[in-house]
Symmetry: C2
Subunit: 549 residues, 2 copies
Amino acid sequence: MHGLMQNFPLLVPSLLEHAEQVHGNVEIVSKRLEGDVHRYCFPDLARRARQLANALQRLGVGEGEVVGTIAWNGYRHMELYYAAPGMGAVYHTINPRLSAEQLAYVIAHAEDQVVFVEAMFLPMLEAIADQLVGLKAIVVLCDEDELPASSLPGVLAYESLLAAESDQYQWLELDENRAAGICYTSGTTGNPKGVVYSHRALVLQAMNTVIGLELNSRDVILPIVPMFHVNAWTIPFSAALLGTKLVLPGKDLDGASIHALMESEAVTFSAGVPTVWQMLFDHLEQTGERLTTLKKACIGGSAAARSMLETFRDRYGVEPLHAWGMTETTSMGSAPILTPAVISAGDEAVMDAKMSQGRAVFGARLRVVGEAGEPVPADGASSGHLQIQGWAVAQEYFKRSGRDEWTDDGWFDTGDIATLDAEGYLRLTDRAKDVIKSGGEWISSIDLENAALAHPDVAAAAVIGMRHPKWDERPLLIVVLRSGAVLDRDSVMATLSERVAKWWLPDDIQVVDALPIGATGKVQKNLLREQFADYQLPTASIQPAAEHG
Amino acid sequence: MHGLMQNFPLLVPSLLEHAEQVHGNVEIVSKRLEGDVHRYCFPDLARRARQLANALQRLGVGEGEVVGTIAWNGYRHMELYYAAPGMGAVYHTINPRLSAEQLAYVIAHAEDQVVFVEAMFLPMLEAIADQLVGLKAIVVLCDEDELPASSLPGVLAYESLLAAESDQYQWLELDENRAAGICYTSGTTGNPKGVVYSHRALVLQAMNTVIGLELNSRDVILPIVPMFHVNAWTIPFSAALLGTKLVLPGKDLDGASIHALMESEAVTFSAGVPTVWQMLFDHLEQTGERLTTLKKACIGGSAAARSMLETFRDRYGVEPLHAWGMTETTSMGSAPILTPAVISAGDEAVMDAKMSQGRAVFGARLRVVGEAGEPVPADGASSGHLQIQGWAVAQEYFKRSGRDEWTDDGWFDTGDIATLDAEGYLRLTDRAKDVIKSGGEWISSIDLENAALAHPDVAAAAVIGMRHPKWDERPLLIVVLRSGAVLDRDSVMATLSERVAKWWLPDDIQVVDALPIGATGKVQKNLLREQFADYQLPTASIQPAAEHG
């Protein structure tokens, strides 16, 4: 028997239509690259998105064709988020930190027809001009009078493009499984891999993000997480669904700029990677300023140190929310939903739970398996490979035949090592490729790094596995010291000893000026491994034999 | 281009699977008809639902076949909510207040194969025994030793049925547009009309209910709204999604019982119709007891008086939430989501907004049209026929060819008269059939009733339109007085005069002992009209001529 409900597909522009009708006077505030602050409301966004849809049509972008964006978080980028999917095309968000080679690769691989680009990133395209001959246009996100001189042909100003168009456009009634967006994930080896988001996945995750982060209509939301990165965790879509004021920070993500924006716009919720929060903390520390409106801060992208969560909670009275997701999961795969049992167990149990990556969102299933694919107990201690299934999880990469990342029974292997506990809390312990296999047992590089960060002299830390004749691999701790500090090996080792098993202690500690940070803000351990390729562990290192395993 | 996301349909049992995996230690507490309180956790619910699925199969219920339930809110009813859809069948929730004729009609029309029934409702089935020959079984929701003697053949005890089955069952991977549930809406005329809910609509509305009522995992939820009525507003499904403790009240909905349950289980959120809340208020008034844990109360089913919302807020410190939905909208069609603009305008603006039915939920579109179908301005003043479209809105009734309730362009006409304002707030002013058409203008019977309830002597009020030679119709106010009170016409008219236009004032006031209440707790105005069929309005009534229109 069939259900007798009306047939309305889950489409990205339906979020915007809803906002236009129901959240008519809710603002979107953008810090512009021009330096000023731009404000308008959802109906303005909708009107301009319709103009943009007409413009895309006029530029010759057809259904199923791809439109690239190299842009910060701002209202014009939002307009693209809706206009491209709404007229049957696909937005392709490009990370501006990609190398020239990667940039040329993703534009060609996605078959971008038009690229929308911030003026400051135009030189990136100019540098690969000979590889852009297939483009119908390059559109700079600016007014006509701010259009930079360029060696590229066919460069247009976004505002002139829009001004020529009608704001009447009927969003297409598409199949909800049609593509709406593409984002490439740049691994440490090989070409970037494209994940193709459906309308359905984006809309369902927009709902899941509201539920998982407990957003409400009184929130003022500042997504610092870039819109070029995993759909900004679908937060911009959630804002349209819920009718929350949205604050978009543009290019200035330093602590002073973010703090000023939070205060002037009365931001209550923000989301970003640990690096961004550390910059904010440094600014607050230096100036003595406070966070007077912020209530919740979501930390994702990579695992945060406990000290970061505690700083939010104890020093600034902000509730930290630790979440997890990947390019391949559209936005959050697990959300920081606390169980009543944890809450009643007290503050430290809550902080322990917050240090986890949360629990599977509805629509996603998590499992942890051993080397042979056997299930590992959900006891909070047994670790294994984290795999995920769900309605917003990639089933394959774009135009790529290999399926190495998927199991035979259809689970996506995240490349993470993790534990799950009886209440469903997920704890990432390492990347599979970074875990240190010592004497047949695993040492978590992340846990060691977090332990090192507890030492007052350590500003940043990375642990890599070094070949070892007896134990196969042993950990090497690489640190960046705080300015003025000198490495005191014994003191750092003492800090570590309080936090990890003795056989986990690194065989050596090396100091560097800075860690190599990749396009998505994560430490590039492959570069560290290259850097330390000729390094030899000291032979008289800590011998873990007695306690090992 | 197709999205490359994994294909997971939105299915009712996926909510239960999620709860079993992620919310393992969250309780479902049921006040049983046996008098005791039953407790178990989501994995127990899941295990027993799988046993029930096996039992349904053994009873010969096939895919697409229908299973009736005549039951209060309790854990066994929840098991049916999941087991029937999970094995491809359809739950058909039957209102125990239906007449024998209506009961026989819906069982036959839905082609129920098995009926699950509380012991106390078994006599209802015995009374129509000759019309139940097609049933494969009647299952009483009790233990074997509590099975009542019955004249009906093939009566089984629920617990014995389950005990015989394995708890292993793999929920079917169905098309999400397949039927999961049926609920009949009993109008005042004609046979009840069946609305067929898809898995997709129920799952999406479970998400919408979390978002619209701002539920979170720390809530303890008591749905007083019956599970036989519009899927209990999908609240039981939202609980599984979110992992909130669920408290099910059984048959005792009187103020003392509800209050005791709220206090003993630390309920934070509850939902019910105005009648239920009035009973609770009466109890609290009489005993001086307080609501020590309740934070939010959702009022739906019919419009609440402002005094009810104010009593919640001012006397009991509970946030009232006014929502709207119908059998035809799966659960909420509009939700009490406040806009920042309203909140910043102060307490009375918030109360005004709360007196509205809220704003369209995501996935639903509302419009108000005039007699000829022309759009009416969204100015908060212009009223017209409320129409709705959406993914959880019925597109037709079950096995019924007429489409009178749908417009040619596919909108469902709710039968309500309403206004919409610029912020999307919906305000129901009347049922279309109850609105009083006086001199070509409309008088809202609901507004008049609410005005009358502001008088201290008036316990209940209903307004009906009476034929009038000059104005076509004029209002007659019918009241139930508080015990001991005597009607003071002038005083009541004075109260009304402060609240409505002079030409709205009723031409007469009549006192009755009680108002006729129908199966869903609403005043049956058709019965009132019959009761007053021979009544004549006084000729020297208030003449509205001068100010009319």
